[in-house]
């Protein structure tokens, strides 16, 4: 079975630009999570989808971040406009509906804002 995939693997943008990160979960996984690791810090939760619905977005840092999961399959995370402090690695994870303990992670997208 294919794992969680994320695109792009790296992105370098200027401050003020917009970037969209994509996550394709494992097929059939209703749960989809976004996490972020800022340089030198721990990986932190951003939000959680169940199918196409946002179950929990308590970790989203501010309204410059917009996550969507139209159709309940892949998800996008848009940062607009990007700021320097948004630099970091963005991870996506997916899991089946039956358990929050099951989270399969993708390789992450490394975002650098200059």
């Amino acid at each position: 079975e294919a794992g969680v995939t994320q695109f792009p693997s790296h992105s370098v943008i200027e401050k003020g630009q917009t970037v969209t990160l994509r996550c394709d979960p494992i097929s059939g996984h209703d749960n989809l999570y976004w996490y972020r690791r800022v340089m030198g810090k721990e990986i932190k939760f951003l939000l959680h989808f169940v199918k196409e619905s946002k179950q929990d977005e308590s970790g989203m840092p501010n309204n410059r971040f917009l996550a969507e999961r139209t159709g309940g399959t892949y998800s996008t995370l848009k940062v607009q406009p990007a700021e320097l402090e948004d630099s970091g690695v963005y991870f996506c994870a997916s899991g089946r509906a039956s358990s929050y303990n099951e989270q399969f992670f993708g390789p992450g997208t490394r975002l650098t804002v200059l």
Binding site: V4, Y33, Y35, I43, F45, Q55, A93, F105, G106, P107
Partner: protein, 112 residues
């Protein structure tokens, strides 16, 4: 409140010697605990998890961890390090909600 402390940011061991990566947690409930590993340019891979069954948990690649409630610890061990074990390791806790709480990571170097 949940939190995870990985006591060492870097650990170096010689190939063939034991590995010990330390993790302490704080939790108001009976937590689920995990260890994940990340090799360079790879995703986070689950090594093992504790979810209230046996306190000694065996994982992949010869790793194991023991849940000690009295010490609030979940240290990761391996009897004999291999070069391929060089990676970053994350201790993770989950209580009742959907969020994983990560430690800051321990970078393991294996010296030939």
């Amino acid at each position: 409140a949940q939190s995870v402390t990985q006591l060492d940011s870097h650990v170096s061991v010689s190939e063939g010697t034991p590995v010990l990566l330390r993790c302490n947690y704080s939790s108001s409930y009976s937590p689920s605990l995990f260890w994940y590993v990340q090799h360079p340019n790879k995703g986070l891979q689950l090594l093992l998890k504790y979810t209230s069954a046996a306190t000694l948990v065996k994982g992949i690649n010869g790793f194991e961890a023991e849940f000690k409630k009295s010490e609030t610890s979940f240290h990761l061990t391996k009897p004999s390090a291999h070069m391929s074990d060089a990676a970053e390791y994350f201790c993770v806790v989950r209580e009742t909600g959907n969020q994983f709480y990560f430690g800051t990571g321990t970078s393991l170097t294996v010296i030939p």
